[in-house]
Point group: C2
Chain length 510, copies 2
Amino acid sequence: MYLTQGLHRSLQATPNATATIFKDRKRTFAEHGERIARLAGALQGLGVHAGDRVAILSMNSDRYAEYLLAVPWAGAAVNPVNIRWSPAEVAYSLNDSDTHVLLIDDPFVPMAPILLEKAPGLSILIHCGDGATPEGMLSYEDLVAGSDPVGDAYRSGDDLAGVYYTGGTTGFPKGVMLSHTNFMASGLGTIATGELLKVGSILLHAAPMFHLADLAAWCGATILGGTHLMVPFFEPTSVFKAIAEHRPTDVLLVPTMIQILVDHPDSNNYDLSSMARMLYGGSSISEGVLNRTKARLPGMRMTQAYGQTEAAPVITLLLPDDHEGNRMRSGGRAAPHCQVAILDLDGNEVRTGDVGEVCAKGANVMQGYWNNPEQSAQALRGGWLHTGDLGYLDDEGFVYVVDRLKDMIITAGENVYSAEVENALSKHPAVASSAVIGVPDDYYGERVHAVVVLAPGHRATAEELQIFCKELIAGYKVPRSFEFPEALPMSGAGKILKRSLRERYAAAQG
Amino acid sequence: MYLTQGLHRSLQATPNATATIFKDRKRTFAEHGERIARLAGALQGLGVHAGDRVAILSMNSDRYAEYLLAVPWAGAAVNPVNIRWSPAEVAYSLNDSDTHVLLIDDPFVPMAPILLEKAPGLSILIHCGDGATPEGMLSYEDLVAGSDPVGDAYRSGDDLAGVYYTGGTTGFPKGVMLSHTNFMASGLGTIATGELLKVGSILLHAAPMFHLADLAAWCGATILGGTHLMVPFFEPTSVFKAIAEHRPTDVLLVPTMIQILVDHPDSNNYDLSSMARMLYGGSSISEGVLNRTKARLPGMRMTQAYGQTEAAPVITLLLPDDHEGNRMRSGGRAAPHCQVAILDLDGNEVRTGDVGEVCAKGANVMQGYWNNPEQSAQALRGGWLHTGDLGYLDDEGFVYVVDRLKDMIITAGENVYSAEVENALSKHPAVASSAVIGVPDDYYGERVHAVVVLAPGHRATAEELQIFCKELIAGYKVPRSFEFPEALPMSGAGKILKRSLRERYAAAQG
């Protein structure tokens, strides 16, 4: 299996159909394929060899879609950089992956001098924005225009497709090595449900394309010869306009984005009726948002995916017809390309309903972490990918994630899942957001500690919140100490950085 | 990827759903899984080791479905034997594949002594019929009841899933080695079209299960946790009754079977309305049969698959909406899991519309022929599977197969596709069936020679048929000599054996 397969089929079957739409540019598959073969030629001309990493730091665009296929076409491996990272984080990932070539978009040009300084291996910058090409960089369009097309290197199977750095809520980012088979297994398995993407779909890329969630949708649409419609980044009005004008059928969103769209005052001013299917991931969806979405787009089929970069990324799918009752809190069941199991610390399956680590097995599971055999062996021990998530299975195979393993608190010998405590706190009207962590405690070993951001204009004391929580959860789960900062530290992907909360707490204790 | 993946998911998600239906037996996934784990234990107890071949010679049954998963569960490889073969052919395949264990069904029990004599490696016969277990054989049910369940050996990826002997219209059968990835790629890719099998489908096995066409459907249904409904063999009334009683949603048939069903006088006496999707293969469907099928089952979506055992087996798919006009004669376009190309003898792609060899590339392409590195290298040269079929592509990627490469006749320097000549002959009312071959000729090199079976009560001379053909095809394609036997030699899969016609002709010439 290989990522360029879908392009070859489209060139044969639908050369004149639309491959990409971005701003005022529309390109056919014939044009798309020609540009990819030329860009691949340019990369080879720049000294990119088989298996070399080629990075991109860019907003969504048609060139992003070209990059994703030109790199394997040239025989190399992609390295899509998180656009929310600091220069230090970007430089870390470029150094760690030994990447010499970076495609860089306009908003990130100011970052270039720092990257060149901090990532000494970086020798070639290709400017892929629509603005003027800065000095010292190569122009993407000049490279495409000035290079001869080359043949597909046909990287496939276990060949490295890319190194994808994960968020880093628990330390330095790790480079996840995914093969062509990893990607294609997840892509084929996900569309095999019949609930996502169809032959001839138009896929809207509104979530950032560097992220595995959007890349998974990209892979599925590419397999089926679909059209890629890009907006540079998620912004409600551009999304509405893109839908009304280009009538996409499929989209990948995170629940926050869905909520922003359906609750937007302009939502009813646009024709969104083309949307047939939506894949969402990152978290469960609240019943309120689901119902409002269904009311606004009654025909649309919604599927949740649960997974992680290490699983390329889909592990479970909550199919449209399973969106009901208690299952709304579930991530769904094992996808057609893999298996899921809940394992204890010894690697044995726990009983139905018992909490353990969510583990996955299948052709979608990563080759390992770049340059990190120890963590690779740890994550893949016993033939299972250990996700680091805690969860349980019900008796129909639905997976419920309760917490990150590292966020579980052991207090006086009892396991406390921070997510459950946060859920209780969230029901208090004064709580805007919260993070619950374990902090060292002489008596309890670890103590349940809550970091709470209050809603504007609201007040609440620690005692009030403790009394409130006691109504909802067991006494040992109720936070014994509190702090009330203005905001919580967030990762690039919008996740709360509990690690930095723990460090901050430790530092404050001196 | 591994064939047992779907079973693991079903055991987790739908343990109480129906896995198999055969005669008066219905088994849940929990029962199905338990029996598979026990049969796997029995096989291991009988000395079956990792990678060993375990053969089956059986009509369709629930035990066939158990065998297909128990063998990989035990770590071994399947070898499903063609039920239409002579004892000599069966023995050849058992010897060639070095198979020691054979599951054997009631109708084939009389063949056992010959097999034991001609296949000296064969040491264990497991009787899998519903009759009494013959002396010297082990009872399938006793083995299942008397063995402890074992854990899945988790054969996967490039591990051998089975050796599948191909028909042998062109010589001795060859053992096609298919890996787990080969099978799963074809299965996932085929269902990824959204036109075949759904979550919860009930698949009717009416075509023989040893054949890759039915096994491909079996694989897809297994991936999606579907129910397998078996009839022992294709017979219209049992098929009608099974559909009316068990309401299957999907079926794999060959066009001849479709024609028999829709033209059957009892067709309207049964409720066939559950049939949602039909996959057919082996040949194109005539417009007449298609229209009659559509009239009888208006809601059913029909997809044609073109492929071969070596491609596990699907190469192209003609989707329901593409069943129109000229495309009805096409095998469709490259399936989501592979690529197709028409290559000339030097391995270069020919121009659109030009005839060459149909070739395929993808994770579905076999590992090679068992014990036959030379023919493997020949079939897989240049990174493409050479199908041995001649065909062309139109400008939208539809593949039209015109002939088998070995059946093409070169007469006075001109290429003649036997299929085209046979097609012309078939339009004459006196012609029941025909086979056109090239025979040695001093003047023409090869001469177009027709072997014609006349329809009962009809007469026609060579001269009449020549005059008739000249109205339809170019003069150099018209057969220069004829013979009129009572019948044509057929292979087990119902294909005309042109090789034996050529041999017969040569022998007759002395």
